[in-house]
């Protein structure tokens, strides 16, 4: 276990030390970081002759993403002659498929999966350090969270996956409802959020967050909540410490917050809050930019009206005093069984280059937030001020399994909905916060025992 390295590492700003460790030159100044660096020698990856690639990725949430991804892929084929077949599967199905591919040693050459998958079978993945260093040097460096997800043990040395970016989450709200409830701007801290939610409830325009076994929306906001109050599943040495006074505080807050929710959130799966929001039934929820995308691109006048009224805000800051978001990171992994690892790396490099990446981000209307700092200057983030909060998703997030190391245990704990269940139990009053935390502790210990 190398947690000390990682903990130290996380303290370091802007991944500087990691950059130094890998011999890459990172721009220290943020302004300099915002532009692609000139003079980075091109990477010569020498794709294998006659290479053909199969890529498995998660199925798009917004149409523009898939269109441009495929268009960019076609461009790659035209340029290199390497045939690429891109298959998409529902995002929750990619993870088990990737695991099976890793297990049996056969499958797509590249899999674009979710969260800490690369850390579950690091020895089955092709080392992509050269591509990562090249991209990092050229595009202003990787964010801390990119390094945590992309490198072995999060140490910043050996890259086992390239983060494609993340689906950022933010609070999506109805501006007019917020103003009617007596708030001119969206609250920046958890106390303010509770007050706003209470005021909205009193006005008959409540909010709602998913509390069912919703793999995406449920996990994302409950982890933010737990971390915002200083609670965490494990400490830096991977000891389970979830049953803590900080967790209890978070759960007590959840209980109060739940009182302001629209009825039915315990049954909500991932799509429910989108549907309810677009129908005008809720005025605050936690979601990606997909609600706004759907409303804005819809021909329906009613939805267009909602789009004009939508506001976005980063998740409020809790007592710990810093952002504690969890966002859905997409690691791109090249598997060792691939016959064409160089071609696969070349494909990933190509897709991450500015000429491809920025138009793709634009087509997805910012659904995917960049893992590389230079893309902060992509006009998509400023062309509509409502996009801006999603720009910082990777910059301000905390990685899965915080504050321990990512791997099998963190993935399994999340797949088992330990935090979601804990928050739901306490919020709904079916268990006291103390009982809920104890139950979560017991369940988590099983996974962290290994």
């Amino acid at each position: 276990m190398s947690n000390i390295d990682r903990r130290n590492f996380l303290k370091m700003s802007a991944g500087l030390a990691a950059g130094a460790a890998t011999g890459e030159v990172l721009a220290q100044d943020k302004k300099a970081a915002a532009k692609p660096a000139a003079g980075v020698p091109t990477l010569n990856l020498k794709p294998e002759k006659g290479a053909k690639l199969r890529v498995l990725r998660w199925k798009r949430f917004v149409a523009g993403d898939e269109e441009l991804w495929l268009a960019n892929t076609k461009k790659f084929t035209e340029k290199t002659g390497i045939e690429v077949r891109v298959d998409s599967e529902g995002w929750e199905d990619v993870r088990p498929k990737a695991a099976v591919a890793a297990n049996i040693g056969s499958g797509p050459d590249i899999i674009i999966s979710t969260f800490e998958d690369a850390h579950q079978y690091p020895d089955k993945l092709v080392d992509v350090t050269d591509v990562a260093n090249y991209l990092g040097a050229k595009y202003g460096g990787w964010y801390d969270s990119s390094i945590a997800y992309g490198t072995a043990h999060g140490k910043g040395k050996k890259w086992i996956a390239l983060p494609m970016g993340c689906a950022g989450n933010a609070l999506v709200y109805r501006d007019s409802h917020m103003k009617a409830a007596g708030f001119s701007t969206f609250p920046k801290d958890t106390a303010g959020l509770l007050k706003l939610m209470q005021a909205l409830k009193a006005k008959g325009t409540p909010g709602g967050f998913a509390l069912g076994n919703a793999t995406g929306d449920g996990n994302v906001w409950t982890h933010w909540l737990l971390w915002a109050f200083g609670g965490k599943m494990v400490d830096a040495k991977s000891n389970v410490v979830i049953n803590s006074p900080e967790t209890i505080k978070a759960l007590e807050y959840a209980k109060e917050l739940y009182q302001t929710f629209i009825p039915g959130t315990l049954s909500w799966l991932d799509p429910n809050n989108n549907k309810a929001f677009l129908d005008g039934q809720i005025s605050v929820t936690c979601n990606g930019i997909s609600i706004y995308y759907a409303a804005k691109t819809s021909p329906d006048a009613k939805l267009k009206e909602i789009a004009a009224d939508i506001g976005h805000a980063n998740m409020p800051i809790g007592p710990v005093g810093r952002p504690t978001e969890l966002n859905l990171v997409f690691p791109m992994m090249v598997f060792k069984y691939s016959k064409y690892p160089n071609a696969a790396k070349e494909y990933l490099r190509f897709m991450m280059e500015k000429e491809q990446y920025e138009p793709w981000q634009q087509a997805a209307m910012g659904y995917v937030t960049q893992p590389l700092k230079a893309y902060e200057s992509n006009p998509i983030w400023t062309v509509d001020p409502k996009h801006t909060p999603y720009r910082d998703a990777m910059k301000i997030m905390q990685p899965n399994g915080y504050a321990g190391e990512m791997g099998y245990a963190s993935a399994a704990s999340m797949a088992d909905f330990i935090v979601v269940n804990m928050v739901a139990e306490a919020a709904s009053g079916s268990k006291t916060p103390k009982e809920a935390a104890e139950r979560a502790e017991k369940r988590a210990q099983r996974y962290y025992k290994v």
């Binding site: 929750e92 993870r95 088990p96 695991a99 099976v100 890793a102 297990n103 579950q120 079978y121 089955k124 509390l211 069912g212 076994n213 919703a214 793999t215 629209i262 009825p263 039915g264 959130t265 315990l266 049954s267 909500w268 799966l269 429910n272 549907k275 309810a276 129908d279 039934q281 099998y408 993935a411 399994a412 797949a415 088992d416 909905f417 269940n421 739901a424 139990e425 709904s428 079916s430 139950r439 017991k442 369940r443 099983r446 996974y447 290994v450």
Partner: protein
């Protein structure tokens, strides 16, 4: 060679071989592998070591696993009993002379024909916390003020998923029992009515005894399908709220595939086998005990 081909024993074996290979390859091997995995701590992506009963010990102490066992038993018992009652009733109705008999019978089968995932999605909308058609109608009628939280309250969620399962399962029971009813010779009913049996007595002393063998088969299948149900729960609730609708099958998937704990998931799936065996043995011995039902004569 010729002599070999005339040997009855050899021929018998040779003819059985393809079926035996198929069974071994596609049934015995996976089942054995699953059982073996249950005794290891295999994780997705890495081989496991033999851990004996460790997985089972853990599952026994795990509140969620115990809850899923309770949910599964409750789900199976309630759904099966109701499916049997409704199915038998429907079969008897369909066995009468009614107008458009074949059309009606075809329609009855519809819920069974629709792919489970599709009907589950339909139920998902029917039960939606915000868009439920049932709640909407009741609110419009002025009978209730707020939408019913079908899948948000633990007990209501259990009953709602059971209702969806029943809707899907009744046609299978009904059509099979109908087939059974039609094999009963009309002469038996004639004889019974000549002896002065009332309709209820005819049912009790003619229909039911002759129907028990098929009931045994149908209900065994029905119980097996219900006990191992997955799709409906996966679409409707993913096991929520608060794990109150997690069945052993869905929890096994969650632990093994999403969570990567193949060994534990396999153990959970293997733990279902004794219950399934018990159900099979019960119907086999409990409902087919009389000698005439097995081709002999009653003493």
């Amino acid at each position: 060679m010729n002599r070999l081909l005339e040997n009855r024993n050899f021929l018998g074996l040779a003819f059985m071989l393809p079926a035996a290979v198929l069974l071994l390859l596609f049934l015995t091997y996976p089942l054995g592998l699953g059982t073996w995995l249950g005794f290891t701590d295999t994780k997705v992506g890495r081989a496991g070591a033999w851990v004996g009963l460790d997985n089972y010990e853990y599952l026994f102490g795990d509140a969620v696993a115990r809850l899923s066992l309770f949910n599964t038993l409750f789900y199976t018992v309630v759904a099966s009993v109701i499916k049997f009652a409704l199915g038998l009733w429907l079969a008897i109705l369909l066995n009468q002379n009614i107008a458009f008999k074949s059309a009606v019978r075809a329609v009855v089968l519809l819920p069974f024909i629709v792919p489970t995932a599709l009907s589950a999605i339909a139920f998902w909308w029917i039960y939606d916390a915000q868009f439920s058609i049932i709640s909407w109608v009741l609110v419009k009628l002025g009978w209730i003020d707020t939408y019913i939280d079908f899948l948000g309250e633990p007990w209501l969620a259990r009953l709602s998923t059971i209702a969806a399962n029943i809707w899907r399962g009744v046609p299978f029971v009904a059509i099979c029992l109908l087939a059974g009813l039609q094999t009963i010779p009309p002469s038996l009913y004639e004889a019974a009515s000549i002896d002065g049996a009332r309709p209820s007595q005819q049912f009790w002393y003619v229909t039911l005894p002759l129907l028990t063998p098929i009931i045994a088969v149908v209900m065994t299948f029905s119980v097996l399908f219900t006990f191992t149900d997955f799709q409906l729960i996966y679409v409707l609730t993913r096991g929520g709220p608060l794990n109150s609708t997690h069945l052993m099958a869905t929890l096994s998937f969650q632990r093994a595939i999403s969570g990567g704990a193949l060994g534990e998931g396999a153990a959970l799936a293997t733990a279902m086998i004794p219950f399934l065996l018990a159900a099979i043995l019960f119907s086999y011995f409990g409902l087919q005990r009389r000698a005439w039902q097995q081709g002999g004569t009653d003493k």
